[in-house]
């Protein structure tokens, strides 16, 4: 173990959140809960990026009084990356939810195991 586990508490929390989302994705048979797990993982990544961009005692990167000094502002790049991530996660969630709704209309269940067995039975016919 390295020395910075507790001082990097934001990163630690984001990694635990990532693990929770990953576990949800693995263990829940319900498809909607899988999508929720995916979104928890996304949020963990945003928290991690935002924590990486932060610098102690500096302001948000909006120029005040014309001061354009690197010592005055936090890192603006992770903020832009988080924006990209949010847009992609919204799109992925929308498309996957519509696919899930189609599956529900076809098989009348949200359980992935039941959907698989029903699909296998249909394929055997």
């Amino acid at each position: 173990m390295g020395p910075n586990l507790l001082s990097n508490y934001f990163e630690t929390a984001s990694m635990i959140l990532f693990g929770i989302g990953f576990t949800t994705l693995f263990l829940q048979p319900n498809l909607i809960k899988k999508v929720i797990g995916l979104n928890i993982m996304d949020s963990a990544v945003y928290l991690f990026l935002a924590a990486k961009g932060y610098i102690d005692g500096r302001l948000a990167p909006i120029v005040v009084n014309g001061v354009t000094d690197m010592e005055a502002y936090i890192n603006p790049i992770p903020s832009g990356l988080v924006l990209t991530g949010i847009v992609v996660s919204v799109s992925v969630t929308a498309v996957s939810l519509s696919l899930i709704q189609k599956l529900y209309k076809e098989y009348h269940t949200l359980d992935m195991d039941e959907i698989l067995t029903k699909a296998n039975k249909e394929a055997e016919r």
Partner: protein, 295 residues
């Protein structure tokens, strides 16, 4: 005893094939029966216990994998550079350049806005395309075959007087707030994505308070398609022109204006408006496609 007599009679008649068959049959039956039980047992085990057995295996294996993953990630975090330290390798010359030259080169007071809509404008263009593609995919999946208008009106939300009256007072403020955020994207926190999300939320509120028929008078599928198409086309042309002239060291002829004013920072304001319109249309079309299957 009568069976033996019958058999003897038949043997005397020369009809011994039947007796041999009769003798063989009872032997065969237990053997086939035995096979069937093995098969049946396997089927029963497969149907009743194998699923729970493999489920238990799967759950324990996945718990193991997840815990291992969290452990590896936590060990990696413990070796990361300390939080909030200015000398971290993340804070390198790229962010220094953006902060020190951003205001001068893009004219945007908000450095993040100047970064994502000027230096990295094609990234944001790709994001808008991701939204557009997602809306197209949802439309392909969710669209119903053409039905009578009455059937879609059947699922229209009931006209609740409380929601209706609250929406009447909230929606104008929400819309104005969203427009403010979009137009002030380059001089304050905000921009096309957040403002567009707020405007889309106000449209969703209007649709759920007043029903589909009223909002379909203003926003139809044609309108959404045209707004999205024109915004994407304008974004592509404007930023393509700007990048072409910039890469060839030509004057682009776009005034940067005075930093801090609304009409400043060159192309960032119109691009923010484009992104805001795309996000608004996408949010609203997600909602209406999920509820009624058409825009």
């Amino acid at each position: 005893m009568s069976r033996i007599k019958d058999a003897l009679k038949k043997f005397a008649d020369g009809d011994f094939i039947i007796t041999t068959k009769r003798k063989k049959n009872p032997r065969r039956r237990p053997s086939t029966h035995h096979e069937a039980t093995l098969k049946e047992r396997y089927v029963v085990w497969h149907e009743e216990k194998a699923r729970s057995f493999f489920k238990g295996m799967y759950i324990s294996a996945s718990v193991f994998v997840c815990l291992t993953l969290i452990g590896i990630l936590l060990i990696t975090v413990s070796f990361l550079p300390p939080f909030g330290n200015p000398s971290n390798p993340v804070n390198n010359e790229v962010s220094e350049r953006y902060i020190e030259k951003g205001l001068e080169e893009t004219g945007a007071v908000n450095i993040v806005s100047g970064m994502i809509l000027d230096y990295r404008a094609f990234d944001t263009f790709g994001e808008s395309h991701v939204l557009f593609t997602a809306a197209t995919g949802v439309m392909l999946l969710m669209r119903k075959k053409k039905k009578g208008k009455e059937e879609t009106d059947k699922f229209s939300p009931r006209r609740d007087p409380i929601v209706k009256n609250v929406a009447k007072y909230i929606i104008p403020f929400l819309l104005v707030f969203g427009i403010y955020i979009v137009l002030n994207g380059h001089i304050s926190p905000g921009g096309g994505f957040s403002g567009g999300a707020i405007m889309g939320a106000s449209l969703i509120l209007y649709s759920s308070a007043y029903g589909y028929r009223k909002i379909n008078k203003i926003i139809t599928e044609k309108f959404v398609k045209r707004v999205t198409f024109v915004s994407l086309l304008f974004y592509a042309c404007a930023k393509g022109y700007s990048f072409f002239t910039g890469a060839n060291h030509l004057p682009s002829g776009i005034p940067l204006g005075e930093p801090g004013a609304i009409l400043s920072s060159g192309l960032i304001l119109p691009l923010n408006i484009c992104v805001g319109l795309i996000v608004t249309c996408t949010m609203y079309s997600f909602y209406s496609l999920f509820t009624k299957g058409e825009i």
